[in-house]
């Protein structure tokens, strides 16, 4: 029971009672009785127990039975007293509650009674109010009824007023427009007219309006005229111009026409620039006419026409300094002028045009006309047409740039040219102009490479001419010194040969390097066009490497070969020393120079080989081939010179009726001398080479063999009738054991081989000439003497002395065959004669 009371006592207002616990409990119980659950705590399990004395299902019978069954008597007694005590407490609680609430009831009843009285009074007042209101409404309706008429009249009047103002505007319009025209307030005029335009249009059937409209039209026409005039004059600022265009557009002026006018106007200005450029192109040329022709009086127009033709030779005259003619403005200046005048004004035109016609906000009907597209097309064709003219001028100027001296100027000019065109490309994204400009630069670069190549080539040829002259000069002194001093003189002069070679190859290499350096400017980092794909790839590999370097090397080989071919038929117009020199040059190229140059090029230009390029080995083999050919040719030419001497000496003599030999013939001495000088000459440029070992005194020993045993074997049987067979047999046996000799065979790159070749040719000629002649006794003996002399001196030059022996044997043998009276000379006598000589 205590637990229940405490649970239900929460939240109750504590009455001013001495025992709050009691009071609370009673309050809770009452509440409980009325089914009020405090603060919604209904979920408290309701005790269904019939024995719960506080529960709603309390059954006194059950409770009593339960007590009686379960409790002892004492407990029952206790229970009974406790129950009595509780009943008493409850009764007293009830009494106090009734007392407490009684006063409250009484006051509430009083209040209600008072309210009843007040409401009655208020009702009366409300009634009075409603009657008043009804009266007011009635009055108001009467007033508005009376004012109605006046109100409509006022409205009408105000309508008329506005109409009249509009009409006034219309009537004043022409005057106003005129005034605007006078004040040049075109914008105001146009806006006024625009406002009035449709009204006038609508009421144009009425004569008065018609008159106004006509007046307006006339004025507006005048205005448009003035605007157009202003537009045409073009002296006005860009802002004025744009305003002008805008107004004209608003005046329904056809946009196309405006574009055309604008462009044609711009064109005239740009054309003036172009003409200025063109004049610049022409002026220096005509100025140069008197210089080239030396006839200033007749420098007429025809001269000016002929001038470009004159330009060629003037530019290509071998000027060692390779400087362009100074009389004209240089190309950088020209391009500068072109950029500053033409390109910049072109940009201006493009910009203002775009602002006027393309980029302006479109409003109203103008938008529908698709002006930007049309205008853009016009602009493109305009720019293209002008650019083409400009480009032709630039190209003409570039083409005149023939001197290959200062490449930097051209490169800078091209760079500027290219750079300025970028501005155009920015302004006019779809234009072909920049690409065409790049094209021009590429062409110029190509042309430049060609020029450098030809400059290199002419430099090479000039160098060769110099070498030729240098070679010819000492040669003259040799001729002056006479035959005896020839060897010595050649010795004096010849040290220049290696010097010439080094200076020649050095100067060529330097020239190549300087050309490479010049060409390298095209790919410099600060040049705008250097990162174009062409300059990164094709320019380096195809242009510089193939077009310049490889072509030049090929040219060197080619021209060297030409020396062999052209000179071959005409009998050596080239000095042999030059052939030798060139052969060595080509050989040096093969061994080192080519790879050096190509490596240099590749390094400088970072050549990436997209397309197949000429391999170093191919060039080397070409150079080697040229060297071989030159050397072969040298051998041939030198051999022929000596051959010619021998041949003349054999052919022009009457060998049948000659006197007994007392001397070696002068021609043989000459042959030995020439061979010696050739030996010296070749020795300067080529290594010694290998020769077969020979005995300590080859000249003596072998010769004695040849003369004593073989000669006798040859000639002795000739006196018997059965001899010929034996002679043939002997010589044939000899041939069986000797190798076949190729006379004009390729030689190796060394001195011995070269000299062997020359001597072979000479002696073979000697042999063939001897076979065509008939000899007397002394003729044969003279040949013997000559051959012995040759034997004494020639063996030392050749790789295999047996070769000389064999050929000389053959000569003497043939001479003996061709002899009418073959009586050979005593060997000792021959030796004496030779040694005396």
């Amino acid at each position: 029971m205590d637990a229940d009371i405490s649970a239900s006592a929460a939240g109750s207002v504590t009455p001013p009672d001495s025992d709050p616990g009691r009071k609370r409990r009673a309050h809770g119980m009452l509440k409980h009785y009325y089914g009020l659950n405090e603060e919604g705590k209904t979920d408290q399990p309701e005790s269904l127990d019939p024995c719960d004395i506080n529960g709603p299902h309390f059954d006194p019978e059950v409770f009593l039975n339960k007590l009686r069954k379960e409790c002892s008597l004492a407990e029952l007694m206790d229970q009974e007293s406790c129950m009595v005590k509780q009943i008493r407490a409850l009764d007293s609680d009830m009494q106090t509650l009734v007392y407490e609430n009684y006063n409250k009831f009484i006051s509430a009843t009083d209040t209600i009674r008072k309210m009843k009285n007040d409401f009655k009074k208020m009702e009366d007042e409300m009634d009075c109010l409603s009657t008043n209101m009804a009266a007011i409404t009635e009055f108001s309706a009467r007033i508005s009824g009376t004012l109605q008429d006046q109100h409509t009249q006022i409205t009408k009047l105000s309508g008329v007023h506005t109409l009249l103002r509009k009409l006034q505007f219309l009537f004043e319009l022409p005057a106003r427009l005129n005034k605007c025209l006078e004040l040049q307030a075109y914008a105001q005029a146009v806006s006024s007219h625009r406002r009035a335009r449709c009204v006038l249009q609508q009421y144009s059937h009425m004569p008065s309006f018609r008159g106004i409209q006509d007046d307006c039209h006339a004025i507006m026409d005048q205005l448009a005229q003035q605007l157009r005039q202003k537009f045409r004059d073009g002296g006005s600022s860009a802002k004025d111009l744009s305003e002008c265009v805008e107004l004209l557009l608003q005046l329904d002026e056809p946009a196309e026409e405006l574009c055309d006018k604008f462009l044609s106007h711009a064109q005239s200005r740009l054309e003036a620039d172009l003409l200025g450029l063109e004049a610049e192109l022409r002026v220096p040329v005509s100025a140069s006419v008197p210089i080239t022709s030396g006839d200033p009086a007749s420098s007429s127009a025809s001269k000016a026409l002929a001038a470009p033709a004159d330009e060629g030779p003037a530019g290509s005259t071998p000027s060692r300094t390779l400087l362009s003619p100074t009389s004209r403005t240089d190309i950088l200046e020209f391009i500068d002028r072109g950029c500053n005048e033409f390109v910049s004004s072109l940009c201006l035109v493009i910009a203002s045009y775009q602002e006027l016609f393309i980029n302006r906000p479109q409003e109203g009907e103008l938008a529908s006309k698709n002006i930007p597209q049309m205008a853009n097309g016009k602009l493109h064709s305009f720019v293209d047409a002008l650019a083409v003219r400009y480009f032709t001028l630039v190209e003409r100027r570039i083409q005149e740039e023939k001197g290959v001296g200062d490449n930097s100027l051209l490169v800078r000019a091209l760079d500027r040219f290219h750079r300025r065109l970028q501005a155009v490309s920015k302004l006019l994204p779809g234009s072909a102009v920049p690409s065409q400009g790049t094209e021009i630069v590429v062409r110029a670069a190509r042309e430049r490479i060609r020029q450098y190549l030809s400059a290199l080539q002419s430099f090479y040829l000039d160098s060769l001419t110099d070498v030729r002259q240098a070679l010819a000069a000492p040669r003259l002194s040799v001729g002056g010194a006479g035959v005896a001093g020839a060897g010595a003189a050649v010795k004096d002069a010849s040290p220049s040969l290696p010097d010439l070679l080094t200076s020649l190859s050095g100067s060529i290499l330097n020239q190549i390097k300087s050309v490479l350096a010049s060409v390298h400017l095209f790919t410099a980092k600060d040049i705008t066009f250097s990162n174009k794909p062409y300059f990164k790839g094709a320019f380096c590999s195809e242009g510089v490497r193939e077009g310049l370097v490889v072509s030049f090397i090929k040219f060197v080989c080619q021209s060297s070969r030409q020396f062999c071919e052209s000179a071959g038929d005409r009998g050596g117009t080239t000095p042999p020393a030059l052939l030798l020199l060139l052969s060595r040059l080509c050989l040096d190229y093969e061994t080192s120079t080519i790879s050096y140059i190509l490596t240099l090029t590749d390094e400088q230009f970072l050549v990436q080989h997209h397309s197949p390029v000429t391999a170093v080995t191919a060039l080397c083999s070409e150079a080697r081939e040229a060297a071989q050919k030159l050397l072969n040719h040298y051998v041939k030419v030198q051999g022929l010179i000596i051959s010619q001497m021998l041949r003349k000496s054999v052919e022009t003599r009457d060998w049948v009726n000659t006197i007994e030999p007392r001397n070696v013939r002068a021609v043989m001495k000459r042959v030995v001398e020439d061979t010696t000088s050739i030996d010296v000459q070749v020795g300067f440029l080529y290594e010694e080479g290998v020769r077969k070992a020979h005995s300590s005194d080859s000249s003596k020993r072998t010769f004695s063999v040849y003369s004593s045993s073989r000669q006798q074997a040859r000639y002795a049987p000739s006196y018997t009738p059965s001899a010929p067979m034996d002679t043939n047999l002997l010589s044939n046996i000899h041939k069986l054991f000797s190798e076949r000799i190729d006379i004009f065979s390729p030689v190796e790159f060394n001195k011995v081989s070269v000299l062997t070749g020359i001597i072979k040719i000479s002696l073979k000629t000697f042999l063939e000439c001897v076979r065509l002649r008939t000899f007397g006794r002394y003729g044969l003996q003279q040949i013997q003497v000559d051959c012995h002399y040759l034997q004494m001196y020639l063996w030392r030059f050749v790789s295999d002395e047996n070769l000389v022996h064999f050929l000389l044997d053959e000569i003497v043998g043939s001479a003996a065959h061709r002899c009418l009276d073959p009586a050979p000379m005593e060997q000792s006598v021959i030796e004496v004669i030779c040694e005396r000589g």
């Binding site: 071959g568 049948v656 010929p724 041939k735 069986l736 076949r740 006379i743 008939t774």
Partner: protein
């Protein structure tokens, strides 16, 4: 292949002069003239038996002197000319004469075992070509395909046209021309063109080749510096009238179109020494034979400038023929200018080469040591040309 092996014949003497017997079209016959200052000179008549690969020789004595050049009459098998050196009183003069072979040489041709015991027969002199006024004879040319009545001789700087009369026993100069110029001009060789009714002649002196019109005896063209050095020999293309081959001391063989003498049509540079002789094949003018003092004979196939077109059209017959010669299938691709063969049988300078007049596939070459070599065109090539 054994068939293709060269046949070699040795003379006792040195020799330069070689000629085919032009009038003989059945037997393969060459004439060789010897050069000896000490002994009787001889003319060897070499008969080649193609089937048995055997050489038959006959020797005729040529007592006048050493022979530098032989020419055979195109009309009469028995008639020939020689240019020879006559030595008398320490003077050497070049002479020329017309000879007739003794009629019975052929009967005694079957070699008796001891040839020397049989005293060889002697040539019968028909007439001398009197040159006392004109200097040394370099060569004598018969009118090609003529009746054996007209001759041209080149003597020093003179061109002499001879008429033979009374069955070649009398000779008379009918016209002559002289080459004028500075220095001593001397003809080295010449050729009578078989074209244009035999009215043209080409001569060589020093480095120049000159053409002559025989009717007017005037020069019609001149190729100056035809060769870098001396021009040694000439030959006309037998089938193309304006084509001419020349060779010389610059080791080159050049082919000319005489209508355009600025540049040779073709140049061969295969020899390693002077080229002494050049000969077109009489029927297949792409075959060109050259002999040189490098002891080699070279046979070249100059298809590009021959009268025969490149690559024949192959018709049915040719196809069946080609099947018969199965190994020759490769002949169908067009031939290139090329060297067919280099013959190295000689050991001394080869001064003369000559095609046989009877067998177009056969040729002889003669070297200074007296060795005569008879060769054939390689059979493979022969079939390629024929088929």
């Amino acid at each position: 292949m054994e068939d293709d092996a060269p046949v070699i014949y040795g003379l006792e003497f040195q020799a330069r002069a070689l000629s085919a017997q032009t009038a003989e079209t059945d037997a393969i016959r060459f004439l060789v003239g010897t050069q000896s200052l000490k002994f009787e000179n001889q003319i060897h008549i070499i008969d080649f038996d193609d089937e048995n690969n055997i050489i038959n020789k006959n020797v005729l004595l040529h007592q006048a002197g050493e022979i530098w050049h032989i020419g055979t009459s195109p009309a009469d098998k028995g008639v020939l000319t020689t240019c020879y050196n006559k030595t008398s009183d320490c003077k050497v003069t070049g002479c020329a004469a017309v000879w007739r072979m003794p009629a019975e040489w052929e009967s005694g041709s079957h070699e008796s075992p001891d040839d020397s015991s049989n005293s060889p027969q002697t040539l019968e002199l028909l007439c001398h070509l009197d040159n006392t006024a004109h200097g040394n004879m370099a060569c004598v040319l018969w009118e090609p395909m003529g009746d054996g009545k007209r001759l041209i001789s080149l003597a020093d700087n003179h061109v002499l046209l001879w008429d033979l009369q009374e069955s070649s026993t009398k000779s008379a100069i009918s016209s002559s021309a002289t080459l004028e110029g500075k220095g001593q001009l001397k003809f080295t060789s010449g050729k009578w063109s078989p074209h244009h009714n035999c009215t043209q002649l080409a001569t060589a002196n020093d480095t120049a080749i000159r053409g002559w019109d025989i009717r007017s005896m005037s020069q019609i063209y001149c190729i100056e510096n035809a060769h870098g050095q001396l021009v040694r020999d000439l030959d006309f293309n037998p089938n193309k009238q304006y084509y001419l081959a020349s060779c010389g001391d610059d080791c080159k063989v050049k082919f000319w179109d005489v209508r355009n003498i600025g540049e040779p049509v073709k140049t061969l540079e295969e020899h390693s020494h002077w080229v002494w002789s050049v000969r077109y094949n009489h029927s297949h003018d792409q075959l060109v034979l050259t002999g040189s003092s490098d002891s080699r004979v070279i046979l070249s196939n100059m298809v590009s400038i021959s009268s025969e077109p490149f690559g024949h059209l192959v018709d049915e017959d040719d196809l069946s023929d080609a099947e018969d010669n199965g190994q020759e299938e490769k002949c169908k691709e067009p031939l290139q200018d090329s060297i067919i063969a280099t013959y190295e049988e000689h050991e001394d300078s080869v001064y003369a080469v000559e095609w046989s007049s009877a067998d177009p596939w056969l040729f002889a070459s003669l070297s200074y040591d007296g060795r005569l070599v008879i060769n054939r065109v390689p059979r493979a090539l022969k079939y390629r040309i024929l088929l």
